[in-house]
Symmetry: D2
Subunit: 257 residues, 4 copies
């Protein structure tokens, strides 16, 4: 009932994880397991989908995890579309995390090329999850062409800086008709919880797990952070106030004596 539903598919977990930058496949698997995630994104260029012996893919239990190919490294719509088609041709399900990042330094997404690629891929039957800057109008355009989610960034990839785009993400959530998945920049469970408290439907985490001293334990910590934020959102958070208010309204018997 409280599942995350993307393109009609149900997920219990609201934490998606990435597979980059881990020090070993064992660390990656530990983080995935700890996180309780059901969706795992892999860079198409990093894996050889055709090859059953590909060392990374062989570590991911595809009964347990939905493999979500991403177009990481694509610099324009054309490259992104080509990568997505390759993945489907190799037998992947037609889901794609769309990333178009012409700038090699900050890896920020291109709004124009992302929308262009999304339009093509949706028409070809893909379930498209686009990674975008936290731009509410762009988010609307993408939903209008039929993307299955929008994935605004909290901060540039790999920075661990948290929900630096909070105001914009709040607007995206308010206006969204598909799930909003906050992607990139979330460096600690408190960041993930904050996004969920704001009303995000899910978050995607990668670097924070990969660079942790103990990736498996960090996966568990993020799992709890995401659940904490979601549950608080549902339980109805109080408002912030300017003035203090006693939590102990007193009868004052002492002073009256």
């Amino acid at each position: 009932m409280n599942d995350l539903i993307i393109a009609g598919r149900h997920f219990h977990s609201r934490l998606l994880v990435g597979t980059g930058k881990f020090s070993s496949n064992a660390a990656m698997v530990a983080a995935m397991e700890g996180s309780g995630s059901e969706i795992v994104t892999v860079a198409l260029r990093r894996v050889d989908i055709d090859n059953p012996d590909d060392s990374m893919l062989s570590h991911i239990d595809r009964e347990r995890y939905l493999l979500l190919p991403n177009t990481s490294g694509a610099r324009d719509a054309q490259e992104a579309v080509r990568l997505a088609r390759l993945a489907r041709a190799a037998g992947c399900e037609p889901w794609v995390k769309l990333e178009v990042t012409p700038d090699p330094y900050y890896l920020l997404p291109d709004p124009i090329e992302t929308l262009k690629a999304a339009e093509i891929l949706v028409k070809e039957g893909f379930v498209v999850l686009p990674y975008i800057n936290a731009d509410p109008v762009l988010a609307k355009h993408l939903q209008e062409v039929g993307t299955a989610t929008v994935m605004p960034l909290g901060a540039p990839i790999g920075t661990n800086r948290g929900l630096r785009t909070r105001d914009q993400i709040a607007i995206i959530i308010e206006q969204a008709i598909v799930p909003v998945v906050v992607d990139a920049g979330l460096g600690a469970p408190s960041h993930a919880a904050e996004a969920m408290e704001l009303g995000a439907d899910a978050v995607l985490v990668n670097t924070a797990l990969a660079v942790a001293r103990d990736p498996g334990a960090m996966g568990k910590a993020f799992k709890k952070g995401v659940e904490a934020g979601r549950e608080a959102f549902l339980a109805g958070l109080g408002e912030q106030r300017e003035k203090a208010e006693a939590s102990s309204p007193l009868t004052g018997f002492l002073r009256d004596k």
Copy 2:
């Protein structure tokens, strides 16, 4: 092994809860149970400790929770000391959450009177947990006179504004030789997680539970938030970075073709 230890006593839970401002005793009990807390603070003036029929006390299972009397409402050291003695005389264990708040508006603690009362109460054998402004030098003085914790505020009581005193609390944690319990102002699980990620030993929450639409569910959410933050602290969080770093370092096979 990873217990919270205060004055030699072990606790599994690192979340303390307050009992003020709940709409009903049932809501209060639901929040306490959801939170998994083992320490519950009550305003001495609000309860009648002598009276077995006191309606609030009768709802708190004293096998399960350590009842931590607080001196809420005391305006100076003398009043606080008197309240603490009354509680002990009535059969409470000699633990006291020391609150001295002369200002009725923001309920901010008095550093001078708090230190004075702490010194007296420690000498009388109390286990003293003082509520203080996030002042690292005051925190040191209190530890020197023998308090069992220090409890710096994150923001004024009841504001739900979160860890607004983050820089000072980080210094208090760095220099502490007793547990640091962040008290007041934490309005969401993300706030509690942030305090724990910073290295706090525990947090105390009241208003955020009492004003939630569903206090029981909010108690559970905070429980997870605290655990998430603690586990992330232990698992070793990565540093924040200025620049993006790809989570998918690529082989670049596509472009090279």
Copy 3:
């Protein structure tokens, strides 16, 4: 030497002002004069450029201020282009502040339609100053098609929230080859100063002046804020540090006695 140069034209002032929402024309003129601004933006729809008797225009000294027509209210590229052409046909200089805001609620700019309109208008010989979300990749695209500035928002129009998009604006500045003018959301001189300290070339302010109790005095305050930030940027700000460092390294003669 230290002028703001846009499309080859020099300006001493780095503070642009808007003309909306003032309670009276007198208040508007007072704010303009106080601000020392040399560029004043007007909504094309609000003024009747053909009409020499238009009450607002008659209050703006066009010897002193460059009138910068904006396309406020345009919902797509076509409307924006039409408005810009109307302004030129009416005898305005071919400068245009390009605003395409399909969302009537938050008035956030449309990245797709803004780029489309910019491309057309640049080809037609306009000097184009586009209002955009703080999106570094979009900013690059606009510069590539030849806009004279980029004008990323600090926060949604009229909110007075300040530089909420600080991280993104820092990247835009770092990568820019044209002046970066921070537009929208700056509600206090400290916000304007912060943008300039970060390296922005100029800022545009409207609401903060219009809603001030004394718009003329607020114009002066913003003038100083902008200059303060600019001068500090040029004078070389020190870095932020985690740890305190004494500003008074002592010889310690007292203690040694």
Copy 4:
């Protein structure tokens, strides 16, 4: 009329400067002159007040600047009181910036010892300006014993981190009956402006000037920042809003056609 008045003495400038950490006396003098300050604080231990040849003192024009001796380096009330008396005995006016900082690492002030020293010095006829943590209750105690100002810190000395204690300082200002001078941590003119916009009466800056590439120019920038903030405070800042509001309410002639 709009002067800063401390202990009955009027000042036009609301920017106090410190004299530590400059690379040369020439840099220090340039910063002082640029800043327009009328109050200059010097560490008693660093200068030899008795000695007319002291190289630093000989650079400070005592017709132009009120020399405000500070007790920097004092670790307790006794040391601070001794330093203040030495200064007066050497012919200084009986003004003292009271600093008691037992912690050599963060140089944070001691609330207990500061209050103790303040009480003694006020009784001895000193004009006492105490440097304190941003603790509203402590600020009240100091005003009750008769200090001429309170000087809460924005962030630890030398960090340039800005107004990190904003919430507490707002409360101190609201409750103050003497001028509030924000001291320590202000690293940029925007920080100084923010403090003044909040209603502070003045700020003290040192490190930000001393470490600037061009201290004289930075002094000027801070002067403008302080004035900008003060003037904005007087001109009546608008409120922050959650939602955007058009600065150009339109007649909509275009769309209606």
